[in-house]
């Protein structure tokens, strides 16, 4: 019997008990304040959005620091859901919005990758495709910064745990520069030489473009 794998950290939102129907069951005449008052519990709140998350610095983005009347912290009101949406209903709304957003970005990225596969460097078409991708990346970064982290973040590894990667990156950079200035590209190939060779075919160029977009999407999600 195959066991289901653990959900990835990025999908660490736990679905609260109860269904979205708990909101629909309320009288239509109920006001938002009344609904909030009768709600027994707001349900589990991800640490990044809770007061504890703020206290621990997880909800640290400057755009999120809107103080309410009690001196506490809350999220940017432009990103807030209706006050009535609590618990399972809130989870449902956010989950659906997240799925729609991801599907839209994946579709847009796929279209851009296909378009980029038919271009060649140093042409206007290549510049437009790359600039569009960078524009989408910047828009997604701004939106993410405005609305704050969507998932609780794992505890960061200590700096020394990544020291080996830093040393390797420094070595690669030094070797790249040495090759760049050493002489003819054919005798001292740089990373760009290999990448250009790999992106020589439309399909490989499209795949590389998609991989680059996927890396950008991953960066935005962090």
């Amino acid at each position: 019997m195959v066991e289901a794998p653990d959900p990835p950290a990025d999908e660490a939102h736990e679905r609260p008990e109860g269904g979205a129907g708990e909101i629909r069951a309320l009288p239509r005449t109920m006001t938002v304040r009344g609904m909030a008052a009768m709600s027994p519990s707001p349900g589990p709140v991800p640490p990044s959005r809770s007061a504890a998350g703020v206290a621990t610095g997880q909800d640290h983005h400057p755009l999120l620091r809107h103080r309410n009347g009690n001196g506490g912290m809350r999220r940017n009101p432009r990103c807030s859901l209706p006050a009535a949406a609590t618990g399972a209903a809130r989870w449902e709304i956010e989950h659906n919005a997240r799925v729609r957003r991801r599907l839209g970005l994946v579709g847009l990225g796929g279209a851009l990758a296909v378009a980029a596969s038919f271009t060649t460097p140093f042409t206007t078409g290549a510049e437009i495709a790359t600039a569009l991708a960078i524009g989408v990346f910047l828009a997604a970064e701004l939106a993410a910064a405005r609305c704050g982290p969507r998932a609780p973040r794992e505890a960061p590894p200590p700096w020394r745990a990544g020291a080996a990667w830093g040393a390797l990156a420094g070595t690669v950079l030094a070797f790249e520069l040495w090759n760049y200035f050493a002489g003819p590209r054919s005798a001292h190939p740089t990373l760009s030489y290999f990448v250009s060779a790999a992106a020589g075919q439309p399909w490989s160029r499209g795949l590389l473009f998609a991989a680059w977009l996927a890396l950008g999407g991953w960066l935005v999600s962090r």
Partner: protein
């Protein structure tokens, strides 16, 4: 050994080191994997700016110029 061959051998060695680091990170958890290290770098605003600019430069360099 020609310059070209020596250069390619060094590039392959560096790639193997990267694969080895990732394997050690997965096996022992004493090292950060590449993704975790990149996330750590992108955590402070200045680091995030550097990583974002690096991503943009990479795409422009490879696909546009």
């Amino acid at each position: 050994m020609s310059d070209r061959l020596a250069t390619i051998v060094v590039w392959i060695a560096l790639a193997l080191i990267a694969v080895g680091l990732e394997a050690v990170a997965l096996a022992t958890r004493r090292l950060a994997g590449f993704g975790a290290a990149l996330s750590r770098l992108a955590r402070p605003p200045a680091g995030r700016l550097v990583v974002a600019l690096g991503w943009m430069w990479l795409g422009w360099h490879v696909f546009a110029r």
